[in-house]
């Protein structure tokens, strides 16, 4: 809009300050992770080598680059622990996202069908748990799922089970925790597209004798595809790297990749290994992240 004028000092500052912040605290840290993933662990402070020795001048720089190696990456590929951890994370994220879509779609659809004045309240009710701490919401499931917890009480009272089943430290508990925590992330983008759905299209289909389930598949679902894509990406990407949910609800046998990074870092103090696992994770997620970014920019900017 203001192409014809020169940018004022204020405008230039408004661009440069957040830009510089993101470069310093988002991009540069990434490059450092990349660099450390090419380093070796050492018993030193910081616990990796090489460290760029600026005082040694050009020779220092050469020595620094010589010492970098891809060793960590070959190690990562040959160790089944890591490979299994990635596979498990992707499997859980994929199934959980599918469950979220199946559970979230009817809820989003129902909100979009209620009278207008109710919609804002319902949206708030769905969004509210997302604002309260993930840690607390997962902790509340630890209460419910424990052996003598309310869930087993109910199941026993209804005589559905004879022995109280074990829930905690199983993959089932991880799925429950993930579906519970990410439900708002699925419902809200779906609602945002379903709300804009032109109802006359549904009426036209009905007038032409199309059964309702068929209208749903042929009209409603395709028209809400952008919401489905947004919801799926908004859930899938962070779930792959989830730490808190599998750590508190899952078992210790096969960790998800977020737990592996945590363990390498805090447990084994192996910073290069943790960085390598993180870099590979970003590489796995880069395609969905880019699709998600394009989608988000289109939605917000609408041009």
């Amino acid at each position: 809009m203001k192409q014809r004028q020169r940018r004022s000092t204020w405008q230039r500052l408004a661009i440069r300050i957040p830009y510089a912040w993101l470069l310093a605290f988002f991009l540069v840290p990434f490059l450092i992770v990349l660099k450390i993933s090419l380093s070796q662990t050492a018993i030193a402070q910081p616990p990796y080598t090489p460290v760029l020795d600026v005082a040694a001048g050009w020779r220092g720089v050469v020595a620094f680059f010589d010492a970098l190696s891809l060793e960590n990456y070959t190690l990562l590929g040959s160790d089944p622990l890591y490979v299994l951890s990635y596979l498990k994370s992707i499997e859980i994220a994929a199934f959980a996202t599918l469950i979220l879509l199946v559970v979230g779609y009817p809820i989003a659809y129902a909100i979009a069908r209620t009278p207008r004045r109710w919609q804002a309240v319902l949206v708030l009710l769905v969004a509210l748990p997302f604002w309260t701490s993930l840690l607390i919401r997962i902790y509340s499931w630890m209460n419910i799922l424990q052996r003598e917890g309310p869930l087993n009480d109910v199941l026993m009272a209804l005589a559905i089970v004879k022995e109280p089943p074990v829930w905690l430290a199983t993959d089932t508990a991880i799925y429950i925790g993930i579906v519970y925590s990410y439900l708002p992330f699925m419902v809200l983008p779906l609602y945002a597209t379903l709300e804009k759905l032109d109802e006359s299209l549904l009426e036209a289909a009905a007038d032409l004798g199309c059964p309702r389930w068929k209208t749903f598949w042929l009209v409603t679902v395709p028209l809400s595809s952008s919401g489905i894509l947004a919801g799926v990406l908004l859930c899938f990407i962070p779930i792959v790297g989830e730490f808190v949910i599998p750590d508190l609800l899952g078992g210790s046998q096969s960790p998800m990749i977020g737990q592996t990074i945590w363990m390498e870092f805090f447990g084994n103090k192996d910073w290069p290994a943790a960085s390598t696992v993180a870099v590979v994770l970003v590489c796995l997620l880069v395609t969905p992240i880019v699709i998600y970014q394009n989608q988000a920019m289109r939605v917000v900017e609408r041009d």
Partner: protein
């Protein structure tokens, strides 16, 4: 008038029950007199009373509140500037990478954000503690702020600002007397979201903190990973109450300005 079918009502009732029942169970159990969490020993507020005698826990709560205040404020300023840059300043060099850096942190797994920031702080030999966590939280939250404020900016007409400029108002003046009043509710809502995000964060804080700065979520986590504890039920209930109230106020503010759905677009 639209007809709401029985299936739709069932979906809503089941969905909301699923979302709220666990929180309700947590709050009810926090009033359980029995030390054994699974056994109901009658109503009592003893765990709430014990909380305030736990000096370490109170310390952590104070640290978390200060942290949330500082990082929410910084994130709101940075995020609002970024939103203005993205939606009002036309094309500028490096706009695409800028936008990419705004949207990526929204979905980036927290372990990666935490790890990468920690490695930065180590590389520049920064002493880790309150300020490093504050910087990390600011970075994470500013992107949410940008998205909320940007969607508000997209909702209202640019011609209002153009009119002010045509009448001779300099850009800064236009911003202060036209743009800012229109986006203040969105900014307030964004500040509260940033506050809530900081107050809740465990993973990023665990990576970027140092000795002496134990935030409330870090303390809660170290307690609950060993199992359910009645005191923790009480702390968590208080946090749910505080955050819930803040969010309801924020959404009323947002609604006043007709910014409905801004949060939905995040």
């Amino acid at each position: 008038m639209r007809r709401v079918s029985a299936v739709n009502i069932a979906a809503l009732v089941l969905g909301l029950t699923f979302l709220y029942l666990p929180i309700a169970v947590l709050v009810i159990y926090s009033f359980n007199a029995s030390r054994l969490v699974a056994v109901w020993g009658g109503w009592s507020t003893r765990w709430y009373a014990e909380l305030f005698n736990d000096a370490a826990l109170v310390d952590s709560a104070v640290i978390s509140l200060r942290l949330a205040l500082a990082s929410a404020t910084a994130a709101t300023i940075l995020g609002t500037l970024a939103a203005l840059a993205l939606s009002r300043f036309g094309r500028f060099r490096g706009r695409l990478p800028f936008a990419a850096m705004i949207y990526a942190p929204l979905v980036m797994p927290e372990v990666i954000t935490g790890l990468s920031l920690l490695l930065l702080f180590v590389a520049i030999a920064a002493e880790r503690g309150f300020w490093t966590v504050a910087i990390a939280h600011t970075t994470m939250a500013m992107c949410f702020v940008t998205v909320i404020v940007q969607s508000r900016l997209a909702d209202f007409d640019v011609s209002l600002e153009e009119a002010a400029m045509d009448l001779g108002a300099p850009p800064l003046r236009t911003f202060l007397s036209v743009t800012l009043p229109l986006i203040v509710p969105a900014i307030a809502a964004a500040w509260m979201l940033a506050f809530a995000l900081s107050l809740d964060d465990l993973v990023i804080a665990s990576f970027t903190t140092g000795p002496g700065t134990t935030t409330l979520p870090i303390r809660i986590y170290s307690e609950v990973r060993l199992g359910v504890k009645p005191e923790m039920n009480a702390v968590c209930s208080i946090m749910v109450g505080v955050v819930g109230t803040a969010v309801i106020i924020a959404s009323l503010l947002a609604k006043l300005a007709g910014a409905r759905g801004a949060a939905a677009r995040v």
